[in-house]
Symmetry: C2
Subunit: 250 residues, 2 copies
């Protein structure tokens, strides 16, 4: 039935049932069917008032305790944010739609939208392989949640312009990407890279980098094998160079 069966729309802690309904209606308009809700366990009646012709989508909605569970089976996760920050790569909606086109048609995609006022947390946004924003004039206000979902889905379904120049391989699913990040972090730990004051920071950075790469199975195998070698092989501990007291050489 659904034109875009490989996509899931994930709403994280939405406040307004009207907005959920509006998002579901936008899904029906643009050919999406898989709605996932994080942080709630039921739908309130007003969702049906705005979810015109989207009853089956609302009835089929699934509920998850965390974003991690909601996107575990996705190979590509896109996270929407209204905050344009410059400390991480952020693409426009049009670029995000194009990026999806670079992955194989088999890639299952999660499109993630945060709460109306607070958006996604840093940790949630960090799970996204691609972070995108919907262009607007001025920095405030952001789009209504149901409108933002529909703008995004419309851009994906009716993307015009040339076919993607780049073709990427199918990434691991999200759960396996997260697991690879954890294993890599554990290896770094064994190698003595971490201590109590930097552990949390390094673990977060590793996850961030791994999700940004949207690792394929081959990527993971190469990276982990490389580091396993480093762990197993004879390691020469070189003495730390003495702390420099003088000027740095250019």
């Amino acid at each position: 039935m659904s034109t875009n069966a490989r996509f899931a729309v994930v709403l994280v802690r939405p406040d307004s049932p009207e907005n959920i309904g509006l998002a579901a209606r936008g899904m029906a308009n643009t050919g999406f069917a898989d709605l996932r809700l994080v942080g709630l366990d039921r739908l309130e009646a007003p969702a049906w008032r705005t979810g015109i012709h989207a009853e089956s989508i609302l009835e089929g909605a699934r509920f998850f305790k965390s974003l991690e569970e909601a996107v575990a089976d996705r190979e590509i996760v896109l996270g929407s944010t209204a905050r344009v920050r410059h400390d991480y790569p952020l693409v426009s909606l049009a670029e995000a739609a194009e990026r999806i086109g670079e992955y194989p048609d088999a890639a299952r995609v999660g499109l993630v939208f945060g709460n109306e006022r607070t958006g996604l947390t840093q940790e949630e946004l960090g799970r996204a392989n691609v972070r995108f924003h919907i262009p607007q004039v001025g920095r405030q206000p952001s789009y209504n949640l149901g409108v933002a979902v529909t703008l995004t889905l419309h851009a994906i379904t009716f993307r015009s312009g040339p076919a993607a120049a780049l073709r990427r391989d199918l990434p691991l699913d999200h759960a396996a990407q997260a697991e690879a990040g954890r294993r890599f972090s554990a290896m770094l730990d064994s190698l003595g890279f971490m201590h109590d004051t930097n552990r949390a920071f390094i673990v977060e950075k590793v996850q961030d980098i791994f999700f940004r790469m949207a690792l394929t199975a081959k990527d993971r195998d190469v990276i982990l094998a490389m580091f396993r070698k480093a762990l197993e092989g004879p390691r020469e501990r070189r003495p730390r160079p003495p702390k420099k007291a003088g000027k740095e050489l250019p």
Copy 2:
């Protein structure tokens, strides 16, 4: 203040104040400010609930008795329709946005949206120089009104793709286009083209063609001068050819 000061958004007989607010919020997001409402004389409170950060747009909204009055000062009128019919030219939203780019920057544009359930009447749609639809999957349901407005404005403000290949001249304003149609119809009447059973049909067709051409002042002067000549000069009435009874020649 407004990025798109030459545009007016015209909502014709909207039922839901929430949708008016949602449209106004979409206008704020995408840099539009001129909101015109046809068929109501005040805004109900719920418009302010959904019109987040769009208070000044709602406060500045103007009320009109008819679409004709609401777009009288526009050179280009675009009418949105969810009904894809094949008896008149209909372009997609992306093509409509491109068409706007073909007109001079001085052209004042009216973007017209009908009632949530019934849309624009045939007569209202006939006033549009360009009729467009927002692509969707399947024929029903149509987009929520506030969503449709925001999709349209977003497509206009953030249009990507090459600059328009065609550059058009500035058309007459809508009131002058309508007046040219009326004068042309009156001339046709004087020439004996109309009788009681076809008058309404011909008048409507003439208006339809005139609006579709988005007449410039020069177009109008040439067309009306040509027909004035025909009216003033000696007209030879040729006898009607006899009705063909036999076969048509190939």
